[in-house]
Subunit: 402 residues, 2 copies
């Protein structure tokens, strides 16, 4: 049995490498960028008008002129205009190229316009007011998005602006989820008194969906020979196999032995933690195998604590830090195990993140997961955790609605 920190180290020492693929920009939300996105020209690409109003010559204003004859207009999307007579002005629109001869833009709100003449109502202007200079945001050739960035709406906007309608992203692993256990029936069946419906595979498939991975799913009964035969024939097609159940100390927990029989190398089995102690991790060639415990809270916690950060790193995502929250009550936990306590997360108007323990009935209590939001990680070297102390947490829902 190894410590949580050592288990994580081993998991992170065996990242997946699945290469890259090119996808359409409109399919890219949540994917991890695998190229640099470079400004194809200056941002903005020309001296740009930022307010609707008139463009005039600043020196004329400085000399005391306040009334300017309107000699034309510069719409957005038009070629660059010229202010030929510096004592006149042009109407200019947001997004237009600043006409030559113009070095200040006065907003309509600060003007009176009558009979083709604009009177400036302000006593002070400054040169270049309301002008957004070519290249002042970013210069052509500059890297705007680095490799590893998770694509959200703002990244999509930048890619659109530079004309990237296809982008290179981390390829997703071909993934198989396997449930095991004779007590499990499928979601659309009515379980007999001694049976329950499968839920782990649905929970884990949903975690994968948030990465846009579409897994295959299969079920194994508690029959050693069948497990060996089916695993051996199935795993060849996949980069990643996520199993749940069959890794505890029970007489029918055949998975560790079956995985060994088909040549999967065990990297560790059992971690000093609650829930999720029986977690098993191994590899075969380039395939990684996460075998989670069968209890619903345990399998879900291991998926959040080990699998997700492993996947983030395998996909070369730059987003890997955990947030921290303050316990709102004392917690006592005696066993020499890292305790992943279910908590509800509140964003307090003090700017603090607060964690409210949601005590369930242990690792079988799958209904408790819906009342909580996260697992807060309490270290194994202590038994008492005080109200007001701060610990990292692993959220399993989208808490800040980004």
């Amino acid at each position: 049995m190894i410590a949580v920190e050592d288990a994580l180290k081993i998991v992170f020492a065996h990242l997946g490498h699945w290469g890259t693929e090119e996808i359409s920009l409109d399919q890219s939300l949540g994917r991890i960028l695998q190229e640099e996105i470079v400004a194809d020209r200056d941002f903005p690409p020309f001296n740009r008008v930022t307010m609707d109003g008139i463009g005039l010559n600043f020196d004329q204003f400085e000399r005391g002129q306040r009334v300017f004859e309107i000699k034309g207009e510069a719409p957005a999307g038009g070629l660059q205009k010229e202010l030929q007579d510096p004592s006149s002005c042009l109407e200019v629109m947001t997004g237009a190229i600043v006409p030559t001869g113009v070095d200040v833009v006065v907003r309509y709100e600060d003007l009176e316009i009558e009979e083709g003449k604009a009177t400036v109502l302000l006593s002070n202007l400054y040169r270049n007011q309301n002008i957004h200079f070519k290249g002042s945001d970013r210069h052509q050739g500059i890297v705007i998005l680095s490799s590893g960035k998770c694509i959200s709406a703002s990244e999509v906007g930048v890619c659109a602006t530079v004309g990237k309608n296809k982008i290179s992203v981390s390829r997703l692993p071909k993934t198989l989820i396997v449930s095991s256990g004779d007590e499990l029936v499928d979601i659309d069946q009515t379980p007999l008194s001694h049976q329950i419906r499968r839920s782990n595979v649905y929970r884990i498939a949903t975690v994968l969906e948030s990465y846009k991975i579409q897994p295959s799913v299969m079920h194994l009964n508690d029959d050693f020979n069948e497990i060996v035969k089916r695993l051996e024939s199935e795993i060849t097609d996949y980069d990643l196999i996520l199993l749940s159940g069959g890794v505890s100390a029970g007489k029918f927990d055949y998975l560790p032995e079956a995985l060994s029989a088909i040549g999967v190398e065990k990297l560790f089995h059992k971690v000093k933690q609650r829930p999720g102690k029986p977690f098993w991790f191994g590899k075969k060639d380039n395939k990684l195998i996460f075998a989670f415990p069968g209890n619903p809270v345990s399998s879900f916690m291991c998926a959040q604590q080990y699998f997700k950060p492993w996947l983030d790193r395998s996909l070369q995502s730059s987003k890997t830090e955990l947030p921290w929250a303050e316990l709102v009550e004392d917690v006592h936990f005696k066993p020499d195990l890292t305790y992943f306590l279910e908590v509800k997360i509140i964003f307090h108007p003090s700017g603090k993140i607060k964690a409210y323990p949601v005590k369930g009935n242990g690792s079988g209590d799958l209904a408790n997961l819906v009342d909580a939001d996260a697992f807060i990680q309490l270290p194994s070297d202590r038994n008492d955790f005080r109200k007001g102390e701060v610990f990292p947490f692993i959220a399993y829902r989208n808490l800040i609605h980004g």
Copy 2:
């Protein structure tokens, strides 16, 4: 021009109502539940063994017996067994029904098993140890998930457990996104010197995708008659229309007039805020029309500040609170406007959320959005905001990786 608070009030007073629809559970991530999910039987449905080991009679142990002959086994998924001889024991597996006559389970780790006999190595046990009682998590008939819950992995798990492979969720609005402006060309075109590529529609479409809304997209040039004609024929097919551009004070900003011409009622135009002042909001019958400013930061801010909370409420989501963050530096902002400042969000090991201002070049600086994470909302009645003060923020990316 109205205050941000009043604009929000008007927006929230005109929610969309699009009914419900039934969808497959495996398509439900991120959707808003519109039914109560009820425990179809007790959770757990039987007295359940929580550890692999042996099941025995507690009174026998209390009387001093330590060695128990193993008389059989109770696997998970099997019918309930019976411990006929109370001085013997049964091997019991996690997930099995506790056999009649058994009222304590001892883990394999706390046993020595030799020649068909199990010796308990512990000096103390307690009655019902390692037994998870029928109905102790949730009783049959209890509501486990309330209407309004946003579906994440843990909710999918509960639905699977109670056999709901179809669930009722809020129907999504049929949505049209419209860009406008002669300066805009499409993503796959090379803009001329006075043109730029469309990016607002891509950014807004990505926001919609996070709700699983698949919008239609169209573009309008700055031609009043064309705008009227095309809007009139198109909007009949949609519940929701999101426009960008054409709502400022410019001579070619035809949208307010064009929307009025086709019978759209203006609910407000212009909000005391930066960015996004020219934001326009209206309705026609049951259709809601958000007309965002054309500047990329402005349109995105308005989508985050008004549209997303409006959509959350229209979908009857129970998730509507904003988080709070502490400014890490003084900010000065003079205009009498609510200031939505771009910030990078850091989760500090103190448990505090910290906001680092990311100063860009204003509402045209779309590249700045990728360096920040959120808009922090600084009220209009002050000019100075101090380091250490706390304000609500609107995140536009998934900051806590749930």
